[in-house]
Symmetry: C2
Subunit: 148 residues, 2 copies
DNA sequence: TTTGCTGCAAATAGTTTGCAGAGAC
DNA sequence: GTCTCTGCAAACTATTTGCAGCAAA
């Protein structure tokens, strides 16, 4: 089973376990989140769904993303400009590399962050729940262009 | 000269260098940002200024924070819930520890992040400009209480 | 049949902007 | 005196919510 199929399955299972109804719209959102190599925004999910569900509303996308997030099956990457991005492929804290021009987001696997979390707990008494590490820069594609 | 006085001075210098007028409101915002041990939000800056500048508007606070940010003299910490926080004390990328209950933010000095940035450039071609590392957890104060 | 979900439209909240008068230099 | 800044109010935008009808189980 491909990686994203596993993720899709896992999200649907969580929905059923928690007695949430399985609607076509909900499944469609779950599928896009499970694929989500590109860390889509709510708007992007909405646009992708327009061809299969022309009457679907943005509110429904928001509600389902929030629901799936509350089940711990998607990672939310909040940005100050109010375009949050979602990662349903790897719904746990991990580093990202973000292009400040085209807004491309890559995963960046790596971790001695666990050790760091332990040190913080020892020194400050914080109980660490999650972390976020983003590197902001300009991707190779954008460096090639001279556009904005 | 105390640390924050140095920062305040540096901000005012940058303002002058770039031909921005020195108004009492602007100075007051700069001073709070320079102090900013607590990583204030725009709202908090506004409230602190109410006693000295009762007629000052939120828009003026926003405009001055944005201006000082554009001069590279304050670090913006954006959060998805739309309560951005500002650090004028250390206006360069550095790790933070955030309490998810009371929203306290501590600085957390540490860095082998430079090495990591270099590795990313080597492997992805990204030109890294800045980074952001946040640890989210519950602080000792909040762990003591059982309240929300 | 019951309960929760959807679509629509209106409400919300942080932030930004247009404009006229005030103030820095 | 000139040009920027400020205060006010309105505009903007992402997100959330109330409600009536609809659909999953």
């Amino acid at each position: 089973m491909a990686d994203f199929e596993e993720r899709f399955h896992s999200i649907v299972e969580k929905l059923k376990e928690n007695n949430h109804k399985i609607t076509p719209q909900r499944l469609a959102v779950a599928k896009i989140l499970a694929l989500s190599k590109g860390h889509p925004s709510v708007e992007e999910i909405y646009e992708q769904l327009q061809k299969d569900f022309p009457t679907m509303s943005l509110a429904t996308v928001y509600r389902n993303v929030i629901l799936i997030k509350s089940l711990g099956e998607v990672l939310e990457l909040g940005f100050p400009d109010g375009r949050n991005r979602y990662d349903g492929n790897k719904p746990y804290s991990h580093p990202h590399v973000v292009c400040v021009r085209c807004k491309k987001i890559l995963d960046w696997d790596f971790s001695n962050l666990k050790d760091m979390a332990k040190r913080i707990t020892d020194e400050t008494g914080f109980k660490i729940l999650s972390h976020r590490l983003d590197f902001f820069g300009i991707c190779q594609d954008c460096l090639g262009k001279n556009a904005v």
